[in-house]
């Protein structure tokens, strides 16, 4: 089962939930953890994996062979991303704007453009205990997250439990991360910010057709509007974690709740079972419809 952990608002405890879930399942079932928050990957700070394999992730960008180039300007015309200009009798390229679509090379009438690799980040795999850990880390100054997220997701594997830590928000990098999951856990906090951004996140998973459940973090610091919204929308609230200075201190050191307070292990293990039941029920419901 593939479960994505996402949240409309940043800093609600998405990584905390994903990491503790992985640790609670470790030893019970094979677990794979994918950190898709490639702009700010944080899960490794808590799971502390040892990486045994790293590779550079690149996108193909144009490389112009001047001898063959007739300066016809076709490449500049077909580039939808302003990554190519033709000036002073030569082609000027800007790899940092390129999306790697290949239009310039494909449509160059004199085959003067070949493609070369342009680095956007690093894909690292390793192990944290018995958890297989995969992380994408985008180079600072690179604007393009989705190709790196796709590279992380290619390392999906067939473990019984695959946990995906998604970036915050609801836009394209989030969709790329969450798409294809069996279930999405939406982490929020009981504040107007949390509620507003939760609604956006629910809209996103519904658009993708992925079933979801809500986790309310710092549940004692706020109001009841999030829970009322979930009730009205028929979204299950699967877990509530109270605010506790001790938990905050534990998090700030990079320690994990289930390690320091083992009474949380069964809670997270149970969360996984609940999700599993819902996914099976959903699959059955779909089966019944046909």
């Amino acid at each position: 089962m593939r479960v994505a952990v996402a949240s409309g608002k940043g800093g609600t405890g998405k990584t905390t939930i994903a990491v503790n879930l992985a640790l609670a399942l470790e030893g019970k079932v094979p677990v794979r953890f994918l950190d898709c928050d490639v702009e700010e990957p944080n899960a490794h700070l808590f799971l502390k994996p040892t990486f045994d394999h790293e590779r550079v992730v690149s996108i193909p960008v144009p490389d112009v062979e001047e001898a063959k180039c007739t300066v016809c300007k076709k490449c500049g015309e077909v580039c939808a991303f302003n990554a190519i200009a033709v000036a002073g009798g030569k082609v000027v390229t800007f790899p940092e704007l390129c999306h790697g679509c290949g239009a310039c090379a494909r449509f160059c009438p004199s085959q003067a453009i070949r493609e070369r690799s342009h680095r956007i980040g690093i894909l690292a795999t390793g192990r944290a205990g018995s958890v297989t850990f995969v992380q994408g880390k985008m180079d600072v100054g690179t604007p393009l997250a989705p190709p790196l997220i796709k590279a992380v997701k290619k390392e999906m594997g067939s473990e019984e439990a695959v946990i995906i830590d998604a970036p915050p928000g609801t836009s394209c990098p989030v969709v790329t991360s969450v798409d294809g999951s069996d279930f999405c856990l939406l982490v929020t906090e009981p504040t107007p910010f949390g509620l507003h951004d939760l609604k956006l996140a629910v809209g996103m998973v519904r658009e993708l057709g992925i079933p979801c459940g809500v986790i309310v973090n710092r549940a004692t610091l706020g109001d009841f509007h999030v829970e009322r919204y979930c009730y009205e929308e028929g979204i299950p609230v699967l877990l509530k974690i109270p605010f506790d200075r001790r938990y905050a201190a534990c998090y700030s050191q990079g320690d994990c709740l289930v390690k320091v307070y083992p009474e949380w292990v069964p809670v997270f293990a149970d969360l996984w079972r609940q999700v599993e039941r819902m996914v099976k029920r959903g699959a059955r419901a779909l089966g019944n419809q046909r």
């Binding site: 940043g10 700070l45 939808a80 290949g102 928000g169 969709v175 107007p192 201190a249 700030s252």
Partner: protein
């Protein structure tokens, strides 16, 4: 005209609450919410919308089923895996147009695409520009650019010389769009391993774009040792932490009631509120110094 960007790298550090407090304390300014993906500033500032504007993203490919002869060329050529069974998945299409140029039957067209809205609004604290990107949309960087541009025009029109920007989280495309060319960036971090990690990345990014930076640590007393570590890191980078704001339940309480933490007169005397007021004074001074810099 000066632009102050409040930014964080990591989400949930208190960026929006601080931006809202500055909105109350600063004079003669325009407010801009560049967190177009999950805009929250309006929840505290309660804007009355004066104009609502459409935001058009990159065009997306669409296959006319009647004209499609199912040759599969488009599917093969698409680098984004956006075409399957002669159908375009709009979430994956990046609008490069390769499929449309390639289609021998002329069945693939590039369609303009309404990706969200942006608003010019009135708040009790001054004019505001904010936006809402459609759910599951890309092009947030482009929308950030549009919103910033609208903010600058508004400032010029009304003769206001400061723009306060609430930035998006992360270090990707929308952050780069929000960061480039601002006068000063205030990075709001928290005393956690994740906060520290993300602070380093956002500082690198600001350095890359040569933007002057100030750092403040929010909720510093939840982990004093971690706070000291962050202060040391900043010092090594040649930046003094400009402010340390204590954890204060009053902040969550203010957010819950949907009001800014501070008021122009009176208001809270709590620890966080006091720290935020003195932070604003320091920032205003810093902005003054930057404005007087030669070449500005």
């Amino acid at each position: 005209m000066q632009e102050l960007l409040v930014i964080s790298g990591k989400g949930g550090t208190g960026k929006t609450s601080l931006a809202a407090a500055f909105a109350v304390l600063a004079r003669d300014k325009v407010l801009v919410d560049c967190d177009v993906d999950a805009a929250d500033l309006h929840l505290l500032l309660r804007p009355q919308i004066q104009s609502s504007n459409e935001f058009w993203g990159m065009p997306k490919a669409f296959i006319n089923a009647e004209d499609c002869n199912k040759c599969g060329l488009c599917q093969e050529a698409c680098r984004f895996g956006a075409i399957e069974d002669y159908h375009v998945n709009p979430h994956l299409c990046e609008g490069c147009g390769v499929c449309s140029r390639l289609c021998p039957a002329g069945a693939v067209v590039m369609r303009d695409h309404l990706a969200g809205y942006w608003y010019v609004a009135h708040t009790p604290y001054g004019p505001m520009v904010h936006a809402q990107l459609g759910i599951a949309e890309d092009n947030s960087g482009k929308l950030v650019t549009v919103v910033r541009q609208a903010g600058r025009e508004l400032a010029r029109e009304r003769g206001l010389n400061l723009i306060i920007i609430d930035g998006p989280p992360g270090i990707g495309c929308p952050v780069i769009a929000a960061l480039s060319g601002v006068s000063l960036a205030l990075v709001v971090t928290e005393p956690t391993v994740a906060g520290h990690h993300d602070l380093e990345r956002i500082m690198q990014l600001a350095g890359h774009f040569r933007v002057p930076v100030e750092v403040c640590i929010n909720k510093f007393d939840l982990a004093p040792a971690k706070s000291r570590e962050i202060e040391e890191y900043c010092r090594a980078q040649g930046v003094e932490v400009i402010s340390k704001i204590p954890f204060d339940e009053e902040v969550a309480w203010a957010v819950s009631r949907g009001v800014p933490l501070v008021q122009p007169r009176g208001g809270s005397r709590g620890g966080a509120a006091r720290a935020v007021r003195s932070l604003w004074e320091k920032l205003a001074e810093r902005l003054d110094v930057l404005a007087r810099r030669p070449g500005h």
